[in-house]
Every structure is written in structure tokens, then in C-alpha cells.
């Protein structure tokens, strides 16, 4: 525990000295914030919580990227093997990855929240306790997924490719950038099997419907179980040496991290409420925003919805039937 904390402090300092880290963990999320809240809400205060949920989700999901790259680079450069000689275990190294990531992401989340409230005039804070738990579990889960990526890749280049694929899926198929109800039905079905979706929908619920942690217990539980499995698996697969390659069984082990979301996805497909609550939250945002945006926005689920807040160039033909 003491070693984890020492490593966490050092790794935080290293991150703060890294310009690329500062750009991607602070500047980049704030660009998203100004883009989503400034451009897409167009002054509609009621749309701010909805967009803030997306921005927070993107900030949290970004955790896995830098973490996996750093760990793989440390391994490639022979830095990890220097730690291996010392009485430092894989658990301490991995825990410090998650802890430093968490402590470095929290300020960005806080800044985003504060700007949303004071600069973009978000009317209420939402359920702050729920937000805190979701943000915490979200960062830990996505950081743990980063550990899994680092476990199953040998080089920084490979890591980059896997990260790109995962990031694209998280970005476009979870409701983080395009609202879930606007996506085609098959993508919505697929989204039910992705951790990112539960993070996005959970954040929408605590920010828009102001529900507490209990109401999103399924989402929280799946994130927690996913994080626990991912951490245990990555500890199992941890490699200190640059030349030690991924064992064949590693990918199967790694895949086990998504078991909670496979189970949740199956349950959601049959009995779940995620799609309906996502639609409700989206519709309530659209309806509240409608009077100010009438005639300007075209994107919405066709049914009975009035004109809505959404990216002006989105195509309504993608709307679910």
C-alpha cells in the first residue's frame, strides 16, 4: 500500500511534466466542453446537463488511453524491469496506475462541472453524490481496461491501434457523442454490451433526472465488477520484461473483463430500461429546449418529438423507427 502511494505520487509528477498528457487530459476535454456546451446547446440552459454528461463521459473514458500507453512504453524502454529488482509488486505498480489516473482526472471533471454551472449556467448540480460515485467508478473501470490493453499488447504501436479502435467505439457507439436514441436500432442493441454506454446513461440520469446511486445500481455494479475483473486479470498478465510476449491465453483472460457487460447486455436486451431511460432523458432535454431552438435543429427521434438540440449537421435518417 505504501509503495503504491509512493509510485502514485511519482507518476502524477511525471504526468504533470508531460506536455502531451496535459494536452490530452486537460486541454482536449475542455475543447469538448466548449464544443458541446457552447456550440451544440446554443444557449439552451436545459440542454447543458445532457451535454455535460457526454463531456464527463469522454473525459472519464479517456483514462484508458494514456495509462495503457505509459505502461507499455515503460515496459518497452526497460523501465519496469528496474522496478522489478526492487521489492515492488505488480499489484502496487498497477494500483498506482489507476490511483494516479484517478487523481489526475478528478480536477478536470471538477473544472468541467464548475464551468458548466457558472459559465454555461447549468440550473442545478444534479445528484452530486451519484455523480461522484459514477465518476470514481468510471475512472477506475476505464483505467482498468487500459491495464488490460497494456497486458495484451507488446509495443506502443500495437497499443495505439487497439486504443484507437476502442476509443472510436466508445465515442460513437455509446451515446457519448451522438445521443443513443438517435442511433440506428442495431447500434443501440450493440451499445447495451459496452461499458461506455452504462457510464453515459448513468451520468445522464444523475445529471438530468437527479436520481441517486441506488437508481443506477446495475450500472455501478457492472462497472465495479468489470474494474475488479480487469484489475485481477491485468495483474495476472502483467509483464515486466520487454521481450516477454503475450501468452496465447491472455486474450481470453482479457476478454473476461467484459463478462459483467455481456450479462448486463443480455438482461437489458430482454428486460432492461437503459434504452427507454436514455430516450426519456433525451426527450425531456429536447422538449425543454424546443421553444428556443424551433426551426433550427433537425435531429431527433422522429415519432412525436419536437425540434431538438443537437449537432446541426446530423442526419435524421439515422433515427430509430
Amino acid at each position: 500500500m505504501r509503495h503504491s502511494w509512493t509510485l502514485t505520487k511519482v507518476r502524477m509528477r511525471l504526468a504533470l511534466r508531460n506536455r502531451a498528457f496535459l494536452f490530452f487530459s486537460l486541454v482536449f476535454p475542455l475543447v469538448f466542453l466548449f464544443l458541446f456546451l457552447g456550440l451544440f446547446t446554443r444557449g439552451n440552459v436545459s440542454a447543458v446537463p445532457y451535454m455535460l454528461a457526454s463531456v464527463l463521459a469522454l473525459t472519464i473514458m479517456g483514462s484508458f488511453w494514456g495509462l495503457s500507453m505509459q505502461l507499455v512504453t515503460f515496459r518497452e524502454q526497460g523501465i519496469l524491469r528496474r522496478f522489478r529488482i526492487a521489492p515492488v509488486g505488480a499489484g502496487a505498480m498497477l494500483a498506482s496506475s489507476i490511483a494516479s489516473n484517478y487523481l489526475l482526472t478528478l480536477p478536470t471533471v471538477f473544472i468541467e462541472f464548475t464551468l458548466a454551472r457558472h459559465l454555461f449556467h447549468m440550473r442545478e448540480w444534479g445528484n452530486l453524490w451519484g455523480v461522484f460515485i459514477l465518476v470514481t467508478l468510471g475512472i477506475i473501470t476505464f483505467a482498468s481496461l487500459g491495464l488490460i490493453v497494456a497486458s495484451v499488447t507488446n509495443t506502443a504501436q500495437e497499443t495505439q491501434v487497439i486504443n484507437q479502435l476502442l476509443w472510436s467505439a466508445f465515442l460513437f457507439l455509446s451515446g457519448a457523442t451522438l445521443p443513443l436514441p438517435m442511433l440506428p436500432g442495431w447500434i443501440q442493441s450493440f451499445a447495451l454490451f459496452m461499458p461506455a454506454t452504462y457510464l453515459v446513461v448513468g451520468l445522464e440520469r444523475v445529471l438530468i433526472a437527479h436520481v441517486g446511486a441506488y437508481a443506477i445500481r446495475a450500472e455501478l455494479l457492472s462497472l465495479a465488477v468489470c474494474a475488479a475483473i480487469a484489475f485481477a486479470v491485468s495483474q495476472q498478465l502483467f509483464r515486466w520484461e520487454p521481450e516477454s510476449k503475450v501468452p496465447r491465453s491472455a486474450k481470453l483472460w482479457a476478454a473476461s473483463a467484459i463478462i459483467p457487460f455481456v450479462l448486463l447486455g443480455i438482461w437489458e436486451t430482454s428486460y432492461g430500461h437503459v434504452r427507454s431511460t436514455a430516450t426519456t432523458d433525451f426527450m425531456s432535454t429536447v422538449q425543454q429546449a424546443a421553444p428556443r431552438t424551433r426551426g433550427r435543429l433537425r435531429m431527433m427521434p422522429e415519432s412525436d418529438a419536437p425540434p431538438s438540440t443537437a449537432p446541426p449537421d446530423a442526419d435524421s435518417s439515422d433515427a430509430p423507427k
Binding site: R2, H3, T6, L7, V10, R13, L14, R17, N18, F74, Q77, G78, I79, R81, R82, R84, I85, A86, P87, V88, G89, E241
Partner: protein, 306 residues
């Protein structure tokens, strides 16, 4: 009878089809500087990394400070220090941070300011690792390896790739440690390093220990012979030079003739006569006392740097 602090018996290790170690055995006493000398690929790093607990052996018995490196975990790591051959630190870590961080991992540790001073890194204490020269990085690695006051110190090619000036600085540091009676296992392919620093040496070649003893004892093998290195204006057949008076053997590499002679004056006289008869001339001549290089050459038929 003292119990050796490092005991290696019949160590074997393979990487796929390549047999890196084929039954390596040796022991190191407490307070001794022991060298593993051999060419690249001889199995030195494999041996030392097994002793550090970084690699599991395929077979054989290993004991360091009475512990098995593979199964003793952190208790073992508390007892050893190491300068690894291929390792690094994060570019943006400061010298003092690195030292303090590693010190904090151990139950027994030295005061880091003293180490910075001793290794001439005081002025660089706030410098980033990426800003250090090769010699400074190696001095930091040595300082870090001593941070826990280890009972055994492993130095894997500590001067490889360093320029002669920096190499001498590192030699001075290792000699200081030697005077402090620190137990050191050193791997090297530099003859002068082994001769200057080591109390005892095991010469390793192709995964085997081919000779074992003090540098002086090992050189006794070549006793009675001197090494003659010569360059000629025109090449001559090795057989002809081997036939000169007193010559025990002769090999030519890149225009350099390396001969061993039991009677140097007679060899030189007959060499000059032979060259005159051939209309050839000496371009260079050097006579030296036998070194560990000669022992290696005698045992393997190859030079260490071949």
C-alpha cells in the same frame, strides 16, 4: 569453512532451441569481487539475471544470501542491489526523486544525500534523467543499486558503451566498494576490468565456465609464454611464423599476427632473419606479459572480442 554467499550449481537455461547455459557452476564468498568474463552471448547476463531473480532457470541450484531468488520474493530483493545491462528510468524523473523513491521501497536504506555526494551527482540532484550524460546515468544506477545497503551487488556490464574516461571513473567507484568489502558479482567482456577489479574470475564461453580462479592463477596457465603482436609490410603464411624458434602458436586476424613464445629473444632473432630472407619488413612489434585474453585464446582458440 565459510558458506558462500552466492552458490551456483549446474545451472542450465535455454531460449527455444538456443542453449544459453549448459551447466554453469561457481561460488562467491562474502566480501569478494567475482567476475564473469566472456564474449557477448557467452551466457553472462543469463546467469546474472537468474541470480537476480529476473529469469527462472531450467535446471540447477542457485542460492544467494541463503535464499532462492525465484521463491523468496521481497525478502530476497531486500538483500540485493543491481545495475542491469539494459534498463532506464522515466525521462522526466529527477535524480533525487529516483533515488528517494527507490530508497522508500526498502526496509533498510541509506541516506540519499550521502549517495548523491559520493557519486558526484549533487549538482545534478534536480536534473531530469533525460538530461544526464551516459556516465552520470551509470553513476545514478550505481547509487540506486546501493540505496538499500545490499549484501550482494550485481553489476552487469557496468561500463559497456562508456568512453574510457567514464569507464575509469566507474572502476574507481567499484574499487572503493571493493575496499569496503562489498560482495560484488560483475560481468564483463573487458579483460582489464576483470584483471583490475576482480578477486576471482570465471571465464565463460558458450554457456560453460571454462576456467575459474584468481586472475593471477589463471594467467599462470599461460606462464612461461609471452605474447608477441606484430604487423608486417606484406602478409606471411601463419605456418611459416609458427615454425620460428620458441613460438608456441600463431594466429592472424586483420593483418595482426598474434604469437605466443616461450623464448622471446630467440623468436625475435629468428623472425628478423626470416623476414630478411623473404624481403619483408616489420611494420609494428609489441611484446606483452600474458593476460586473461591469452588464457581465453588458449582455451577456446578465439579472442574475447571475436
Amino acid at each position: 569453512m565459510t558458506v558462500p554467499i552466492i552458490d551456483v550449481h549446474n545451472l542450465t537455461k535455454s531460449y527455444g532451441a538456443v542453449q544459453a547455459l549448459r551447466g554453469v557452476s561457481f561460488s562467491v564468498d562474502e566480501g569478494e569481487v567475482f567476475g564473469l568474463l566472456g564474449p557477448n552471448g557467452a551466457g553472462k547476463t543469463s546467469t546474472v539475471e537468474i541470480l537476480e531473480g529476473l529469469r527462472p532457470p531450467d535446471g540447477g541450484l542457485v542460492s544467494v544470501c541463503g535464499l532462492d531468488p525465484q521463491t523468496s520474493g521481497n525478502a530476497f530483493k531486500q538483500e540485493i542491489g543491481a545495475v542491469l545491462q539494459s534498463t532506464a528510468l522515466p525521462d522526466k524523473i529527477r535524480v533525487n526523486e529516483a533515488l528517494t523513491m527507490f530508497a522508500s521501497f526498502y526496509t533498510r536504506h541509506r541516506e540519499t544525500d550521502g549517495l548523491l555526494k559520493r557519486f558526484g551527482l549533487e549538482e545534478k540532484r534536480n536534473a531530469f534523467y533525460s538530461q544526464l550524460s551516459g556516465g552520470q546515468k551509470q553513476r545514478l544506477a550505481l547509487a540506486m543499486s546501493l540505496v538499500n545497503e545490499p549484501r550482494v551487488l550485481f553489476l552487469d556490464e557496468p561500463t559497456a558503451g562508456l568512453d574510457p574516461q567514464v569507464r575509469r571513473e566507474i572502476y574507481d567507484i567499484i574499487e572503493e566498494l571493493k575496499h569496503e568489502k562489498k560482495t560484488i558479482l560483475l560481468t564483463t567482456h573487458y579483460i582489464e576490468e576483470a584483471e583490475r577489479l576482480c578477486d576471482r574470475v570465471a571465464i565463460v564461453d558458450q554457456g560453460r565456465v571454462i576456467a575459474y580462479g584468481t586472475p593471477r592463477d589463471l594467467k599462470q596457465r599461460a606462464a612461461g609464454t609471452s605474447r608477441i603482436e606484430l604487423r608486417l609490410a606484406r602478409p606471411e603464411p601463419e605456418e611459416a611464423l609458427r615454425g620460428l624458434e620458441g613460438v608456441a602458436d600463431c594466429r592472424a586476424t586483420d593483418g595482426l599476427y598474434l604469437m605466443h613464445s616461450t623464448r622471446v629473444p630467440q623468436t625475435i632473432v629468428s623472425l628478423v632473419k626470416y623476414l630478411e630472407a623473404q624481403g619483408n619488413e616489420l611494420a609494428g612489434l609489441e611484446i606483452a606479459a600474458p593476460s586473461l585474453e591469452d588464457v581465453f585464446l588458449e582455451l577456446t582458440g578465439r579472442r574475447l572480442r571475436d
